[in-house]
Amino acid sequence: MQIVATVKESSLARLTSIADALRAAGLEDVKILEALGMITGHVADAGKLRGLRRVEGVESVELGRTDVGIPDPSSPIQ
């Protein structure tokens, strides 16, 4: 499952340590989006979500949509 964690405004200076804490809580493929104050990654099962949400400095944890796109090239409407 793709995960997007929003870091609190007040904790934006601690992005790296929050990413480490998320990794310790089970987040894989951790990526820091520094300009946005977001951290993305994957978890294997939904059971990890609660732990991710408990990380200090994390405002919210959302599942990322994986169906965001456009029609295939043959479609008349793009």
């Binding site: 990526k31 300009a35 977001m38 959302e62």
Partner: protein
């Protein structure tokens, strides 16, 4: 006092037209619809310089609203500068007005525009846009795009502790000035539609009906990112053009294997004089940033798209065009992540524009605005055709809290660049309308030096009104 600038994107119908004050400076108008006074809007941060320019160039003496008691102001009808919204209302004879127009036209001028102040009527003027105001349409009057963010309500709400000396007269005058300003902007948009034209006279209909062809701006100095399927880096129409690229799709280069990205970039940033006419691009002077977030098959995910947005923001892009989306159901809320992202991006001077989506099959079926365009702080773009009729596929503003369409652009039979060897293609979709709006935002960014939400709020009220708001938002986007 803290400087108040517009935050959030204005909702149509929130301009006070038909609901604004009939008191104060506007109440003294005549049948001409004009008050005989003028409104000057200063460039961001240039209120003092603008006031000086008014006096130096045309002998208009102004005083800060903050330094005048309300009664004195009302009695003398003095020329006045509203520091918080960086605008001034003043009287001027025709000679002065001509001189001021000259000042405003200079590129280094601190004055963005000067318009006659209009009388605000209790009811809408003929042919003018009627905002929804039935109490149920809070859809368009809530959240960060509300007119209440335009510096009107905050001082009122804070008057007890921040502005203790303000009086009702002062505040009504303040509100009336805003009403007049917004109505003067709206009046431009109320001009009758020109006859629809096909792609003739060397340019596409999309550039014609949005006023791009008449603009003296090109987006020069503005960074515009298109997050899509990439770009044909060998396209001859863009030879020699500086282009910054990055792929966020694992295993795929930026080179566009779909066509969609090349088409959208062509609309947003295509050349002024392509080797083969017609012209199809809006901001031919803008710097192009290509972020590949959709695969060559057209698929993408939130993670990669956020990656692309992060990159564009870090690059200092002023506008991000996202002709992508995922369907949402009626009643489904927007993504908190993308809303936060849009707010944080706007704070850094980056505005996100996204397609409203193509899930509708009008007239029988209208679907809500897609993710992530349904976020309150993302500009949602609907599609119309050469006759300014709604495109049958274009989604509508059905969901509350950001789910409205903000503005519409040309999105039916849009001609633009396409990967070689085809070179050009004609496509339809809200995907095609979106880069028109993004390109036009780049023109406004160059012209006004505004960034973030104030940039969007400079553009939206100039749209050409088309009903209903559900489908068109503010209407057909217009260049500056």
């Amino acid at each position: 006092m803290e400087k108040k600038v517009p935050t959030g994107i204005l909702a149509p119908g929130s301009n006070g037209n038909g609901h604004g004050s009939t008191n104060g400076v506007n109440g003294a108008g005549t049948g001409s619809g004009l008050t005989g006074r003028f409104i000057a809007v200063f460039k961001e941060g240039a209120a003092s310089a603008g006031a000086e320019a008014l006096e130096r160039m045309a002998g208009v003496r102004t005083a800060s609203a903050r330094s005048m008691a309300g009664e004195a102001r009302a009695a003398t009808r003095a020329d006045i500068v509203f520091d918080e919204i960086e605008a001034a209302v003043f009287t001027a004879d025709p000679d002065q007005h001509a001189a001021l127009l000259g000042v405003a036209a200079e590129s280094e001028s601190p004055i963005l525009l000067i318009e006659p102040e209009r009388v605000v009527y209790a009811l809408s003027m003929a042919n003018e846009f009627v905002p929804p105001d039935d109490g149920k349409s809070s859809l368009f009057g809530r959240g960060p795009f509300d007119i209440k963010q335009l510096g009107i309500v905050p001082p009122v709400a804070a008057s007890a502790d921040v502005l203790p000396s303000l009086t009702k007269d002062f505040l009504e005058g303040y509100r009336a000035a805003i009403d007049g300003l917004l109505n003067s902007l709206a009046a431009r948009a109320a001009e009758p539609l020109r006859p629809a034209v096909a792609d003739i006279a060397g340019a596409t209909y999309g550039l014609e009906i949005t006023g791009v062809l008449g603009s003296r701006f090109s987006g020069t100095g503005i960074k515009l990112a298109v997050l899509d399927t990439g770009f044909d880096l060998n396209h001859p129409d863009f030879a020699g053009r500086p282009i910054v690229t990055q792929s966020f799709v694992p295993g795929q280069s930026v080179q566009d294997g779909h066509g969609h990205g090349t088409h959208c970039i062509g609309t947003a940033c295509g050349p002024k004089a392509p080797p083969i006419l017609p012209r199809y691009g809006v901001a031919f002077g803008a710097s192009i940033f290509v972020g590949k977030v959709l695969s060559n098959q057209g698929s993408g995910a939130d993670g990669g798209i956020l990656d692309g947005i992060n990159w564009a923001v870090a690059q200092g892009c002023h506008v991000i065009s996202m002709s992508l989306g995922a369907a949402v159901q009626p009643g489904q809320p927007f993504s908190g992540v993308f809303e936060t992202v849009a707010q944080r991006a706007a704070r850094r001077g980056t505005i996100i524009v996204a397609a409203a989506g193509n899930d509708s099959r009008r007239p029988l079926q209208i679907q809500p605005v897609s993710h992530p365009a349904n976020c309150p702080s993302i500009v949602a773009v609907g599609a119309l055709d050469v006759s300014s009729s709604i495109a049958p596929f274009s989604n509508g503003g059905l969901n509350p809290n950001g789910g409205e369409v903000n503005v519409a652009g040309p999105g039916v039979n849009v001609y633009s660049s396409f990967p070689m060897p085809q070179r050009y293609n004609t496509l339809s979709g809200t995907s095609m309308a979106t880069p028109h709006v993004a390109g036009i935002l780049a023109l406004y960014a160059e012209a006004t030096a505004l960034r973030g939400f104030p940039l969007v709020n400079a553009m939206l009220p100039r749209s050409r009104r088309i009903s209903p708001v559900r489908d068109f938002g503010w209407g057909l986007v217009q260049a500056i």
